[in-house]
């Protein structure tokens, strides 16, 4: 353990930790943009700079290692001034349409400008002026809101390992883009629309296209952690709910799910609007003369019970077949086989394991 002082507090932290980690372990939050525990470090955004006594430069907390006797000030006047200017610089080169931005309410730039009282920038001038890339059904890329944290690039390189993006150009013109600047749908693009880049983007540069313009982030009433219903990976995810509607999916970052870093695939992230579809079955249906009509539960259940019992009474339980489902829960599969076995005394129960 290493002894150091952070903001006047004597604290201990594990050797090898960065200032950011040591501060966090001791309940002190330092703002970040380009840092993500799941990704390699960049040390690029410089918003996490802190003052280390004896050092000429401010240190980027996300990459600076701690040492014995270190004295750190995470929020000194010098630090705050640096962060404010940093924010002013980002804000000056930002498409400032927060009113209608999808990210409003969850935007890291918005949040920090709020916290540091940056209401305007002294450095307004030219802006990055790129087209908005609306080239696929899943997400929109608006690099005029990009702060070059590079997390999308690293997420695609290190988590998804499709290596779709890198920075292109240099200096003020630097921004993430695809190889040859092709559309994400182009044949040269390795993108599979997992949206792991969208999930790590701190601003409105990468946003989901589904449900665009239909809700504000702060309207989300709850985020329910659950297990994805597509494929056998069993990924954890969060269903975001407004009213009785699932409006979007966010990653489950609890670290205990089978999907490392909360990574999802395109279905797990963009495939749940079927839940609230108009054509969901909402009532029991009984077929009469080749046509369905709505029925009450009582009527439908009575009909089913009498028909199943009738067939079993005449032909034996083995004349019934129960097809369970690999898409329903364990509890439901259990009850299905119990129904066939305990109620109708038949082992004619199976599901689509082989299909």
């Amino acid at each position: 353990m290493i002894n150091l002082t952070i903001d006047g507090k004597q604290v201990q932290a594990e050797s090898g930790m960065t200032i950011l980690q040591a501060a966090k372990a001791n309940g002190i939050e330092i703002p970040t943009f380009c840092y993500d525990p799941a990704l390699s470090k960049a040390g690029a955004c410089r918003i996490c700079v802190v003052e280390v006594e004896g050092a000429r430069l401010l240190a980027a907390a996300c990459v600076a290692p701690i040492y014995e006797g270190m004295v750190v000030h995470t929020n000194s006047e010098k630090v705050q001034k640096s962060r404010r200017i940093n924010l002013e610089l980002l804000w000056a080169n930002h498409n400032q349409d927060c009113l209608t931005c999808e990210k409003a309410g969850e935007c890291k730039l918005q949040e920090l400008c709020y916290k540091y009282g940056v209401t305007e920038s002294r450095f307004e001038g030219k802006k990055r002026n790129l087209p908005i890339f609306d080239d696929n059904p899943f997400y929109i890329r608006d690099y005029n809101k990009c702060i070059n944290c590079g997390k999308c690039i690293r997420a695609c390189q290190e988590i998804q390992i499709n290596e779709t993006y890198d920075f292109v150009d240099r200096g003020f013109n630097t921004h993430p883009d695809t190889a040859y600047r092709v559309d994400l749908m182009a044949k040269e693009s390795p993108c599979v629309f997992c949206g792991n880049c969208v999930a790590v983007c701190p601003t409105g540069a990468l946003t989901s296209k589904i449900n665009r313009g239909t809700f504000r982030t702060w309207e989300v009433e709850k985020k329910v952690k659950t297990t994805c219903t597509y494929c056998g990976c069993g990924c954890g995810l969060e269903l975001n709910v407004i009213g009785n509607k699932v409006v979007r999916v966010t990653p489950d970052l609890s670290g205990t799910t089978p999907n490392e870093h909360g990574a999802l695939c395109t279905k797990g992230r963009f495939g749940f609007d079927f839940i609230n579809r108009e054509d969901r079955l909402t009532n029991p249906l009984i077929k009469e003369n080749g046509k369905f009509r709505k029925a009450s539960w009582e009527e439908a259940l009575d009909l089913i019970a009498s028909k199943l019992k009738g067939i079993a009474d005449v032909n034996g339980g083995n004349s019934l077949m129960f097809l369970s489902s690999a898409r329903t829960t364990n509890e439901e599969n259990y009850l299905m086989q119990k129904l066939s076995r305990a109620v109708f005394k038949t082992n004619n129960v199976d599901h689509c394991a082989r299909l």
Binding site: L58, R122, F167, D169, G171
Partner: protein
């Protein structure tokens, strides 16, 4: 490049003009590769490092870090280490490394082999600016000759020391003069600096311990081993030992490069070797040390050219450029050309530099065009000071230096510029701005 002959002692340019750089035998005839032989056969690596430490040699790339100390910081246990020569001479006004590479390439090669031996590196890279095609060709030629003559390769001088050398060409990026950006570039990546620590001495090229030294620094090493640390230390001043190549340029009668012991004042060098300004002109300022260094007012030109004396007056030696600017030149226009350079050369990785260099440049162009305000001056100072302490690498940290030093010494000119009337705008400034603008419009390249 003009070379100005001096009477004094020569170290890195000892062979310049005296040998055919393409003939290794001429280098050998003047004692070449004897120091390498001495190091390999008569000295331990530790002893070499100690000798260099004792000589007081400091990095000639601009930062002035003690070379021996840097070598001693190299991680000891590693399966592979590298010595890298920083020959990405991009500091505007600087033309010293080019002289060494084209005039005495074996001096550099020998210095690198000795450095490799000292730190335990068996492989070296010379990362040379892509624009320096002659230097690259000369170096490749010299490396082949050195290999053929047993000065590079396996079992040098019958010892078990193996050392190979390769030249890598840069591709037009000033930031690659920053050592970690340079390493990234050798690895084949965008030349974006890494955060430190880890320092290259711990984890550099391909994650292996690496020492990066400037051309001029390395070229000193054979002489230090040959003549000894004490001899070397006797040249120059106590804290600035040895000699330095200075480049006289700008509005002087004579311009060119010359090697001088540390310690002459700026004025002495400009007058003795530069012949002073053209008749009828007065000195407006000296941009000393390169684009990333401070702007020196005439009042300070009696400062001796040493690391310590310049630091004491808030200036820096940088790479040794002495760019004299006379009173006929437009002040704002010159400052703008400088800020334009940094905007263009910022790698774009960290926010302070990527956005900051652009905004500084923008504000200065605005001021030059007569649209500036007094608040702009405060904003420049705020922004510049923030960049100095918050940018990721030396480029971003140093980029505001000319602006901040000129604000300190030439506030009257700024105030004049922001309070002047728009119709009195200097034509030169407008022309410069137009050039810069067209440059940017041409910059983004979009594939069809």
């Amino acid at each position: 490049m003009n070379y100005i002959e001096t009477d004094g002692v020569k170290i890195v340019l000892r062979n310049f003009g005296k040998i055919d750089p393409l003939k290794v035998e001429e280098y050998v005839a003047r004692g070449g590769y004897e120091s390498l032989k001495k190091a390999l056969t008569a000295m331990t690596p530790e002893a070499v490092i100690e000798e260099v430490k004792a000589s007081g040699l400091r990095g000639r790339g601009g930062a002035g870090f003690p070379t021996g100390l840097k070598w001693s910081f190299t991680k000891k246990d590693a399966d592979q280490k590298y010595i890298v020569c920083n020959a990405d001479e991009g500091e505007p006004g600087t033309a010293k490394d080019r002289l060494i590479m084209t005039g005495d390439p074996h001096g550099l090669i020998e210095g690198m082999a000795i450095a490799g031996y000292a730190i335990g590196a068996t492989k070296g890279f010379i990362y040379c600016r892509g624009e320096y095609t002659t230097s690259i060709n000369t170096l490749n030629h010299a490396i082949n000759q050195a290999r053929e003559n047993g000065f590079l390769g396996e079992n040098l001088f019958g010892t078990d020391f193996t050392f190979n050398l390769e030249v890598r060409s840069g591709a037009g990026a000033y930031v690659c003069g920053e050592e970690t950006a340079l390493i990234e570039s050798i690895e084949g990546h965008r030349g974006m600096p890494r955060f430190k620590p880890p320092f290259p001495g711990g984890a550099g090229l391909w994650g292996k311990p690496t020492v990066v030294n400037n051309v001029e620094t390395l070229a000193n090493v054979p002489v230090i081993l040959d003549k000894g640390a004490d001899w070397y230390k006797s040249i120059g001043t106590e804290k600035s030992a040895g000699t330095k190549i200075f480049i006289l340029c700008g509005n002087l009668r004579n311009t060119g490069a010359l090697e001088l012991p540390f310690g002459m004042t700026v004025r002495e060098v400009m007058e003795t070797y530069g012949g002073g300004l053209l008749t009828g002109r007065d000195l407006q300022m000296v941009h000393l040390g390169g684009a990333a260094s401070g702007i020196m007012p005439p009042a300070l030109i009696d400062t001796p050219l040493t690391y310590e004396d310049l630091q004491a007056v808030g200036q820096g030696l940088g790479s040794g450029v002495i760019l004299a600017i006379d009173d006929q030149k437009d002040f704002m226009s010159y400052i703008c050309s400088n800020t334009h350079f940094f905007e263009h050369e910022s790698c774009g990785k960290c926010t302070p530099c990527r956005e900051g260099t652009a905004r500084i440049n923008e504000i200065l162009h605005r001021i030059a065009a007569g649209d500036g305000t007094l608040e702009d001056l405060d904003n420049l100072k705020d922004l510049g000071e923030m960049m100095q302490i918050s940018a990721l690498c030396g480029l971003g940290q140093a980029a505001p230096t000319p602006v901040l030093t000129s604000l300190e010494h030439f506030m009257d000119k700024y105030v004049e510029a922001v309070s002047g009337k728009k119709n009195e705008v200097n034509e030169e400034a407008v022309a410069t701005e137009a050039i810069h603008k067209s440059y940017y419009e041409a910059a983004p390249i979009k594939l069809d």
